[in-house]
C-alpha cells in the first residue's frame, strides 16, 4: 500500500517578530518512524534529504535614502547586521528581498550606494548572502547597474534539500516578471519532483495585495500557476515595508519589514493616503526589523515546521543605551 504523507505541511512557516527582518528555521519533523520515512522519501525524490538550518531575511534597506520620514540613513541596516551576527543560532544564509539601495538619477551616485550596501552587508557573519533587486535598484536602467554589482536578477540555488528561487519582478518598467523569466522558471522547476521544498524570494508581492499602492505583480498569477503543482512553496518578499502573511490556498506568502521606514496598514488607511509612518524620535526603529527562519523538518506539529521570528529593533539593542541620543549623536538630523 502506498504511504500517504502530509507533504504540504512540511514547509509551513510560523512567524515571530524581530522588527528588522526575519530569521527562518527550516526544521525537519521530530524523529519518529513516520518522519524518518518521510524525510527518506523526500531525499530520494529530491536528491537531497532536508536537514535543519536557519536563515535570515532582510529587506528594503534603501541605502542612500535621506530625510523624512527616516533621518537615520543606514543605521537600522547596520544594527540589523550586528543583530544577525549576535544570534545564538547562526544562520546559514541571509537573503535580502530588494530595494537594497534607493534610486538616484546619477549613475555614479547609485553605484556608490550599491558599494555602500556591499560594504555593510559584507560585515555579516553568514556563509551565504543572496539578493534580489527592488524597483529602486533596477527600475530606472532595467537592472544594468545592479547586475554589474550583484550579478543576475533571477537565479536559483539549492541548500540542504531546499530549492531557493530568486525571481526578479522589478527590472521591467512595469510590475511584472515577464514571459522570458516565467519560461526560465518553468525550466528551472522541471527537474524537481512535486514534493521539493521551494522558497521563492522576490520583491513585490506575487498577488494583488493592494494594487492601488502598487503592491502587486501584474503576471503574479502566471508565476503562481507555474508553482501550483509543487506542494511545499513559500514566497518571501519585501516592498511593502511591513509584515504580512497570506495563504493563497496553495502557497504561503510572507512580507518582511523594511530597514528604513514603515508603511501603514492598508486595510485601515484611506486608499489615497499611502504615506510612510512618521519618524518617532523616542522609538526610531519602530516597525523596522529582521526575520529569522528555522527549518526543522522533524518538528512537531508538522504545521509549524518552518518557524519564523520577526524581530523589531529596539533602542536597548543599540549599544545598550536607552534613549534616542545614541542614535542621533552622529548628527544625522
Amino acid at each position: 500500500m502506498k504511504k500517504e504523507f502530509n507533504r504540504r505541511s512540511f514547509m509551513k512557516i510560523a512567524a515571530t517578530s524581530f522588527g528588522i527582518g526575519a530569521l527562518y528555521q527550516v526544521l525537519p519533523m521530530t524523529a519518529s518512524g513516520e518522519s524518518e520515512e518521510f524525510l527518506g522519501f523526500l531525499g530520494k525524490q529530491n536528491g537531497e534529504k532536508p536537514t535543519p538550518f536557519s536563515f535570515v531575511q532582510l529587506s528594503d534597506t534603501h541605502v542612500g535614502f535621506h530625510g523624512p520620514p527616516d533621518p537615520l540613513g543606514t543605521k537600522a541596516f547596520e544594527h540589523a547586521v550586528d543583530m544577525v551576527n549576535g544570534l545564538d543560532t547562526k544562520p546559514d544564509l541571509v537573503i535580502v528581498t530588494g530595494d537594497l539601495t534607493h534610486d538616484s538619477e546619477n549613475r555614479t551616485e547609485q553605484a556608490e550606494r550599491m558599494k555602500l550596501f556591499q560594504e555593510i552587508s559584507g560585515r555579516l557573519h553568514a556563509p551565504m548572502l543572496k539578493l534580489v533587486p527592488g524597483e529602486h535598484d533596477a527600475g530606472l536602467d532595467g537592472g544594468t547597474l545592479y547586475r554589474e554589482h550583484f550579478g543576475q536578477t533571477s537565479y536559483s540555488f539549492d541548500h540542504r534539500g531546499v530549492h531557493f528561487i530568486a525571481l526578479d519582478n522589478v527590472s521591467h518598467p512595469k510590475p511584472e516578471v515577464g514571459a522570458e523569466a516565467i519560461a526560465w522558471l518553468k525550466k528551472d522547476l522541471a527537474r524537481f519532483p512535486k514534493t521539493a521544498p521551494i522558497v521563492v524570494m522576490t520583491h513585490r508581492p506575487l498577488f494583488d495585495l493592494k494594487p492601488e499602492w502598487e503592491w502587486f505583480t501584474s503576471d503574479g498569477d502566471d508565476v503562481m500557476n507555474v508553482l501550483a503543482p509543487y506542494e511545499n512553496v513559500t514566497v518571501l518578499y519585501g516592498h511593502i515595508h511591513r509584515d504580512n502573511e497570506h495563504d493563497d490556498g496553495h502557497a504561503r506568502h510572507y512580507a518582511a519589514r523594511s530597514l528604513i521606514f514603515a508603511f501603514p496598514d492598508p486595510t485601515v488607511t484611506p486608499v489615497d493616503q499611502k504615506k510612510p509612518i512618521p519618524f518617532d524620535k523616542e522609538r526610531p526603529f519602530k516597525n523596522l526589523g529582521i526575520r529569522l527562519v528555522n527549518e526543522n523538518p522533524r518538528r512537531r506539529p508538522a504545521s509549524a515546521s518552518l518557524e519564523i521570528r520577526d524581530v523589531e529593533l529596539s533602542l536597548r539593542e543599540f549599544n545598550e543605551l536607552v534613549g534616542s541620543q545614541q542614535l542621533l549623536k552622529d548628527g544625522d538630523l
Binding site: D103, E135, P173, K174, P211, E212, E214, D272
Partner: protein, 121 residues
C-alpha cells in the same frame, strides 16, 4: 405641378429634420474627453469625476518620461509615452472612489504618483 410639390415638400422637411436629429444625437453620444498630463511624480488634474455608464476618453500625455496609468477595476492599463497623446476609452461600471497609479517606474517619487477617480451615479 403645385400638387406634386406639396406632396414632396413634407417628405423633404421630414427628411431634413430626421437628419438634423440624428446629427444632434451623434454629438450627444460623443464621449467627453478628459485631458490628463503625467509628470514626475503627479497627474494633472490629480482627481477626476466620472458618471457610471457614461463613456469618456482619457487623453493622456507626458511632459517628461514614460509613465503608466493602471486601474484594474476600470480596466485601465496604458503607457504614456512622451511626445504623443494616448487615448483610453473608459465606461465606468461601478460607483466609488478609485485610485489609479503610475505603474511605469519613473523615479524616487513613483510610489505615490496617483490619480483619484470618483465614479458617481
Amino acid at each position: 405641378m403645385k400638387r406634386k410639390l406639396w406632396t414632396i415638400l413634407p417628405i423633404l422637411v421630414l427628411a431634413l429634420l430626421t437628419s438634423a436629429s440624428f446629427a444632434r444625437h451623434d454629438d450627444d453620444a460623443a464621449p467627453q474627453v478628459i485631458e490628463l498630463k503625467a509628470k514626475r511624480f503627479a497627474f494633472t488634474p490629480g482627481e477626476i469625476t466620472l458618471k457610471k455608464g457614461e463613456p469618456v476618453i482619457l487623453r493622456l500625455s507626458s511632459d517628461d518620461v514614460t509613465h503608466g496609468l493602471y486601474l484594474k477595476p476600470l480596466k485601465i492599463d496604458a503607457d504614456i509615452t512622451p511626445g504623443k497623446t494616448t487615448d483610453v476609452k473608459v465606461t465606468p461600471e461601478q460607483v466609488g472612489k478609485f485610485v489609479a497609479i503610475c505603474d511605469h517606474f519613473c523615479g524616487a517619487g513613483h510610489g505615490n504618483m496617483h490619480l483619484v477617480v470618483n465614479v458617481v451615479e
